[in-house]
């Protein structure tokens, strides 16, 4: 008996020793950095997924023909210059003297190979639709440093997308299995891959042979921590240097911590409500659409549901996107006017409608839906809530069977013309339009505008046309009811003296971060 107690006491003593054996080790060495992210990278195949959490990692190891800086401006990358020769041809001058991490030279063959690779469906590439638009990649006058890329149709945003189409080494990609490619990336980027322990960390080290300016951070570690409170504990204790994604519920706690600097910026993603206009549905009447818009108190949603961490939106594109029109304003919140409009449209007592939305995709998505339901109830519209996991929500969207639904979107290549096709064009399987038009919204005038805009070669003319489209869609037709842009937030551990400007696309590129 005494012995037993003795054993247990000793055990606790040993345990105590362990605990006392060290204060928490501060993340890393002098020129190293440790970043905690919410979503783990899923693959090292740069064409394998287009999720920003993965592209964020790939952007350090690989490069595209072009590059975007923190503000989203398109700059030269593996191509030093680019121009659109005609509707179907894009000409690029390639950078000389670039080497892949395995020592291979970067040539036009790699560009051709990488573009061809996009066309192969899963498990090779998720950029299938973009790849299929590429017809050929040829050298100009047999000069291997100037290439013409021909597209099958006019793709006005072709160059705009090239910062996220990464170039792979032809030789090592052809000879290795998919499993190998998916775990050992070989790029031309400023950082080389070191080690990836899945679920734990991914280590990068600086590429000494990088053609560009040498980054000040030499070693980087990316640690996924999916559980929000643990992620916060990690930054509060200084175990990581930068943390991406502060949950809005815990924002104040972090902001009040003296060791931590909080950096925020409006996110590119717009959260909006899609609304069916097929004949027979109440919202086929423009007065009903306007009434529903005016019954939604976005200010209240931002304040109460988003805890102040969102920005009201009046349209789907965000300011840097081609087609954004700053003159568009939100309709004012006016429940009285809304009731009058409903009565005029023949619904003095309102109607019933089902609101579908994901509950695990956007920041507080299910709670936003609940708030919308309560606000619409005030003007007599009875909302039946139908929130579900995204795995079940997406099939509903692609089936186009929804009447009223919440979704978020931003265009990765900053072109509202590209997004309008799947989001707002009538569903047209043959032409490939309306893929994410969950409520099968249909308007022939808008369809025509979308199709016409793709044919315009002059970027200025096209931008005006897209602005016109956006204004018409938002003010006249009320295609969708915009809610807000989310907020991107980062916590930085002050002690390290990190200079960090968040990117519009939420990628964390270590070359853009410096240490004082």
């Amino acid at each position: 008996m005494k012995k037993l107690i003795l054993i247990i006491v000793t055990m606790f003593l040993v345990l105590g020793l362990f605990m006392a054996s060290g204060i928490n080790s501060i993340a890393a060495g002098k020129d190293s950095i440790d970043v905690a992210v919410a979503a783990p990278p899923s693959t090292m195949n740069p064409h394998g997924t287009d999720s920003d959490s993965n592209q964020s990692v790939m952007g350090n190891i690989f490069e595209g023909l072009l590059y975007r800086n923190t503000a989203g401006k398109l700059l030269s990358g593996l191509a030093t210059s680019w121009e659109r020769i005609d509707a179907l041809t894009w000409r690029f001058t390639l950078r000389k003297g670039v080497k892949f991490h395995n020592g291979n030279d970067f040539t036009w063959e790699d560009v051709k190979y990488s573009f061809e690779r996009l066309k192969e469906p899963h498990p090779v590439s998720v950029f299938l639709s973009f790849g299929k638009m590429i017809k050929s990649v040829e050298t100009v006058n047999n000069n291997p440093w100037v290439i013409d890329v021909k597209t099958t149709i006019s793709v006005p945003y072709f160059a705009q997308n090239l910062h996220q189409i990464f170039i792979m080494d032809k030789e090592s990609t052809e000879t290795r299995s998919l499993g190998e490619i998916g775990q050992n990336p070989i790029g031309t980027g400023p950082y080389k891959f070191v080690e990836w322990v899945k679920g734990s960390y991914l280590k990068l080290t600086v590429n000494e042979n990088y053609w560009g300016e040498a980054p000040s951070i030499k070693n980087a570690e990316i640690t996924p921590i999916t559980e929000p409170s643990t992620r916060l504990a990690a930054i509060v204790t200084g175990q990581v240097d930068i943390l991406q994604g502060i949950p809005v519920e815990l924002f104040e706690t972090v902001a009040n911590n003296i060791n931590i600097e909080v950096i925020t910026r409006p996110a590119r993603r717009c959260i909006y409500l899609g609304l069916r206009n097929s004949p027979g549905f109440p919202a086929s009447d423009i007065r009903v659409r306007r009434a529903m818009y005016m019954a939604i108190n976005e200010e209240e949603i931002i304040e109460k549901v988003m805890f102040g961490h969102a920005f009201p939106a009046s349209q789907i594109p965000d300011p840097p996107t081609v087609g954004y029109d700053s003159t568009i304003k939100r309709f004012p919140y006016d429940p009285e006017r809304s009731k009058i409009l409903l009565a005029e449209a023949g619904y003095p007592d309102g109607f019933e409608i089902r609101l579908t939305g994901p509950n695990d995709r956007y920041v507080r998505d299910a709670q936003i839906c609940e708030a919308i339901a309560k606000q619409l109830a005030k003007v007599g519209i009875k909302v039946e809530l139908d929130t579900k996991p995204k795995a079940l929500f997406w099939p509903d969207v692609s089936a186009h069977t929804l009447e009223f639904f919440l979704i978020g979107w931003f265009d990765g290549c900053y072109d509202s013309g590209r997004s309008a096709g799947p989001l707002l064009h009538s569903v047209d399987v043959e032409k490939g339009y309306g893929g994410s038009n969950g409520a099968d919204y249909s308007d022939s005038t808008l369809d025509k505008l979308i199709e016409e805009s793709a044919e315009i070669v002059d970027p200025e003319v096209r931008a005006d046309k897209l602005k016109l489209f956006t204004r018409m869609a938002m003010e006249e037709k009320i295609v969708i009811i915009p809610l807000h842009y989310q907020e991107d937030s980062y916590a930085v551990y002050k002690e390290r003296g990190i200079e960090f400007t968040p990117r519009a696309d939420t990628w964390i590129l270590f070359r853009e971060i410096s240490l004082k």
Partner: protein, 322 residues
């Protein structure tokens, strides 16, 4: 004995078949992986191309039979999300889960049985009543909350233990990494192992105490005391050995659960185990990972149960399997 093992193995194969069938049936109704894999700008025609290339356009029974055939060849396919062979993906993560489960098991066995014995000897002592009340907490507080509380207390407030991950690990063979041999690795293990083990600890404690209280009243124990045997021999050799039988069964059954259901603990502490992988896979409709995970853990649990059955026979020779 051999006959018993053979019966158990056949039963096991049937269980695996049923499990995989159920998995496959559920997938028919749980999300459509093609939507994500074709890309968000894919046209319907391109989605169909991806679907047919993946064989997902084939009827259910054909998909299932292809899966069975591949599985028998040891090929669980590629992860949708990672485009990496699933088996390697899971085997790489399994050591972390097993280490966590073993540590949690050790903690719950040693503390559970130890405290159970102490409490049973003097059930009326205040401190022992206090332990019993504490064990109720252990059973009723959700793992999730315990984990967060531990982090708040030991990492954020006291700053003595790390919040997440496995810390320093050593590569043993291939992808098998262990945290057992570094101080850093062990320090990282403490919080998650206790979090995962608390429930088992409480259960085993109550089970041991109950068994002991019953056995201590038996005539042969009274005889043993009367004979003047030392308390050590009476308690451990005569009483505990007989009180342990239900404890062993319970512990065996729960070890499988510790491996298979450590998902919550793993996600709180960002423990890079298989449970964490499963969670991401479910979230992202990564069907091949889910089905392989379920199959592998089923096999593990079947093996553990078989092992417990055999162990049982040694502890209590009265049990026959015929």
């Amino acid at each position: 004995m051999a006959k018993c093992i053979i019966t158990r193995l056949t039963q096991g194969i049937i269980v695996l078949l049923v499990v995989s069938f159920v998995c496959f049936t559920i997938f028919q109704y749980f999300g459509d992986p093609v939507l994500a894999l074709a890309g968000r700008y894919a046209t319907q025609a391109q989605q169909e191309e991806v679907r047919s290339k993946m064989g997902l356009d084939k009827p259910f029974y054909i998909q299932y039979s292809i899966f069975l055939k591949n599985t028998l060849h040891g090929d669980f396919g590629l992860s949708y999300l990672a485009q990496i062979p699933v088996l390697g993906l899971i085997l790489e993560r399994l050591p972390a889960s097993i280490e966590l489960a073993i540590s949690a098991m050790l903690i719950s066995l040693i503390l559970g049985i130890g405290l159970g014995v102490i409490v049973s000897l003097n059930p009326r002592y205040f401190i022992n009543r206090f332990i019993m009340a504490g064990s109720l907490f252990g059973i009723s507080i959700p793992t999730f909350l315990i984990g967060i509380l531990f982090i708040m207390i030991f990492s954020v407030t006291l700053k003595v233990l790390p919040t997440f991950g496995r810390g320093g690990v050593i590569k043993v063979i291939g992808n098998w990494r262990t945290g057992f041999f570094t101080i850093d690795g062990l320090r990282h293990l403490i919080l998650p192992a206790f979090t995962l083990g608390v429930y088992q600890l409480a259960v085993l404690l109550r089970l041991t105490r109950g068994g002991m209280l019953e056995v201590l009243r038996e005539d042969y124990i009274r005889t043993a005391w009367a004979k003047g045997l030392s308390p050590r021999i009476v308690i451990f050799k005569h009483a505990l050995k007989n009180a342990l039988i239900p404890v062993v069964t319970m512990a065996g059954l729960q070890f499988g659960e510790l491996i298979a259901f450590s998902i919550v603990t793993e996600s709180i502490f960002q423990w890079p185990g298989a449970g964490n992988l499963l969670l991401t896979a479910m979230y992202e409709t990564d069907h091949p990972v889910i089905v392989a995970y379920v199959m592998i853990t089923s096999i593990l649990i079947l093996c553990i149960n078989l092992f417990v059955d055999i162990l049982y026979r040694f502890i209590n020779p009265k049990i026959r399997y015929e």
